[in-house]
Amino acid sequence: MLTLEGITKYFGSQRVLTGINLELKRGEILGLVGPNGSGKSTLLKIVLGLVYQTEGVFRFQEGAERVKLGALPDKPGFFPGFSLEKNLMLFSGRVKRPVFNETIARLGLIPYLHKKFSSCSTGIQKRCELAAALMHQPELLVMDEPISGLDPAGVYAFRSLMRDWQSNNMAVLLTDHALKELEKICTSICFLRKGIIQSVVPVHEITSKHGSLEEAYRFYNLKSA
C-alpha cells in the first residue's frame, strides 16, 4: 500500500528525519511512537503531501500515483465560526449524501451539526475531524493524535471504526501518545527517536517479549539514548 525509501527531511540546517524506510501493507494499522520532536508528525505530513522530503521517495501501491487518502492532521483545519455542517460540507467534495449522513450518524454528530465549531467541546471537534477524514472512504488513513481529547465513548467508537477499517483491508498510519490505546488498536508499532527508526515490531511480539507497549517504549528509548 505504501512504501517509504530513505526519507530524509531538513528544516533549514536542522535534520528532522534520517533515512526512513517503512512499508505499510493493506489491513495493517501501524502506530508511530516516540518522544516529542522525534519527527512523527513530519513523517505523516510527508505522506500527506503537505511537506516535501529533502531526500528519498515514497510510493503508493503498485501502479497508483496516489491512493484515496483520509487524514486527521495535527491542526483541525476548520473555520471556527462556521457550523459543523458547513465545515463538513466544505470538505466533503463529491461525497454522496447517504455516506455523509451515515458517517456523521455513526460518530454521533447529528445533535451538534448546527453548532459553531469553536463552541463545541474538544471531543466533538475531534469527532468532526474524524468524520471529515472517513467520509471519503479512504484506502489509506493517516492520523496525528486521533485519540487525544476523546472521551471514553469516543475512544470506544474510534476503536470499533478502526476494527471495521482493518476488516475492510484498509491501511492506517497513526501516531499518538496514548500507548495503552495504541496497543489495542495497532497491528504493529514503529519506534522513532530523533528522526531515526529504532525498530518496527508487531504488537503480538511486543506483548510476548516486553509485556506491554509502555515497557517496550521504555526499552527502545533507553536503548537508543
Binding site: F11, K45, L48, G49, L50, V51, Y52, K68, L69, G70, A71, P73, K75, P76, G77, F78, F79, P80, G81, F82, K86, M89, L90, F91, S92, G93, R94, A132, H136, V142
Partner: protein, 243 residues
C-alpha cells in the same frame, strides 16, 4: 483540470466566500469605507475654502462617485482577499483542503477564481453606482468602457499583490503588515523621487484612478504586474512546506 473538479472548486470557494461575507460584516466594512471617503471629500473641499459645498453632502458625494469606487478597488477588495486567504492559513484550512481530495494546483485555481470574482465585483459596483447617480439626479449615464476595465485591472493587480504576499507569508496579520508596509514604502519612495512617473504597482494604480485619462502603458503595466504576482504566488505555494 476536469470540468467536475473545476465545478467542485468553484463551489467550495463560493461557499467559503458566502459564509464569510455575512451581511453584518459587509455592511460594517462598507460603512467604514463610506466614512473614509466622506472625510476625504470634506477635508479636500474645506481645503479649497468652499464651505458651502461641504453642507450639500449628497450631491457632492455623488459628484465624487469615482472616488468611492476607486477606494473600493484600491483598499477594500485586496484587503478582503488577503484576510480571506490568510484565515485559511491561520486555521490550517489549506492543509485540510489539500488532504480532502484537491491538489495544490486546484487549490490555487480556487484562489484566482476568488480574485476574479472580487475584481468583477468592483466593476459591477461601478456600474451600479453610475445607474444610481443617473436615476437620482436625472443625468444621462455615460459609459466609459476604458474606465470600467481600469477599475477591474486595478482591483486584480492589487488583489494579485495581496495573493502573492499571503502565499509567501502564510499568516494573516503578518501578511497584512507586509502589504501595508510595502504600500507605505512605495509611497515614500515615490515622494522622494518627486512624483516622477514610475510604473510601480501602487503608483500606477493611484495615477490611473486620479488622472482619469489612462494610457496604454498603464494598462500594460497593470496586466504585467497581475500576471507576475500570480506566477510568483503559484511558484512559492507549489514547493512550500505546510507545517
Amino acid at each position: 483540470m476536469e470540468k467536475n473538479q473545476l465545478l467542485l472548486i468553484v463551489r467550495m470557494e463560493w461557499m467559503k466566500t458566502c459564509c464569510r461575507m455575512n451581511l453584518f460584516f459587509s455592511i460594517a466594512m462598507f460603512m467604514l469605507l463610506v466614512l473614509q471617503v466622506g472625510v476625504l471629500v470634506r477635508v479636500e473641499l474645506s481645503g479649497e475654502g468652499d464651505e458651502m459645498m461641504v453642507m450639500a453632502e449628497p450631491e457632492i458625494i455623488f459628484q465624487y462617485a469615482g472616488r468611492y469606487i476607486s477606494n473600493l478597488a484600491f483598499t477594500f477588495m485586496p484587503l478582503m482577499l488577503l484576510i480571506n486567504i490568510g484565515r485559511e492559513f491561520d486555521f490550517a484550512v489549506v492543509q485540510r483542503s489539500l488532504v480532502s481530495g484537491i491538489n495544490r494546483k486546484e487549490f490555487f485555481a480556487g484562489k484566482t477564481f476568488q480574485l476574479a470574482i472580487f475584481s468583477m465585483a468592483v466593476v459591477v459596483f461601478a456600474i451600479v453606482f453610475r445607474l444610481l447617480a443617473a436615476a437620482m439626479y436625472s443625468v444621462p449615464v455615460i459609459w466609459d468602457l476604458k474606465e470600467l476595465v481600469m477599475y477591474g485591472l486595478v482591483a486584480s493587480c492589487l488583489g494579485s499583490l495581496a495573493l502573492m504576499v499571503v502565499f509567501m507569508v502564510k499568516k494573516r496579520f503578518y501578511a497584512l503588515a507586509v502589504f501595508m508596509g510595502y504600500a507605505l514604502l512605495e509611497n515614500t519612495f515615490s515622494a522622494i523621487m518627486s512624483g516622477r512617473m514610475m510604473y510601480l504597482p501602487f503608483q500606477t494604480c493611484i495615477g490611473m484612478l486620479r488622472r482619469g485619462n489612462e494610457s496604454l502603458p498603464d494598462f500594460v503595466a497593470l496586466g504585467v504586474y497581475t500576471a507576475v504576482f500570480n506566477i510568483v504566488a503559484w511558484k512559492v505555494f507549489r514547493r512550500s512546506d505546510l507545517r
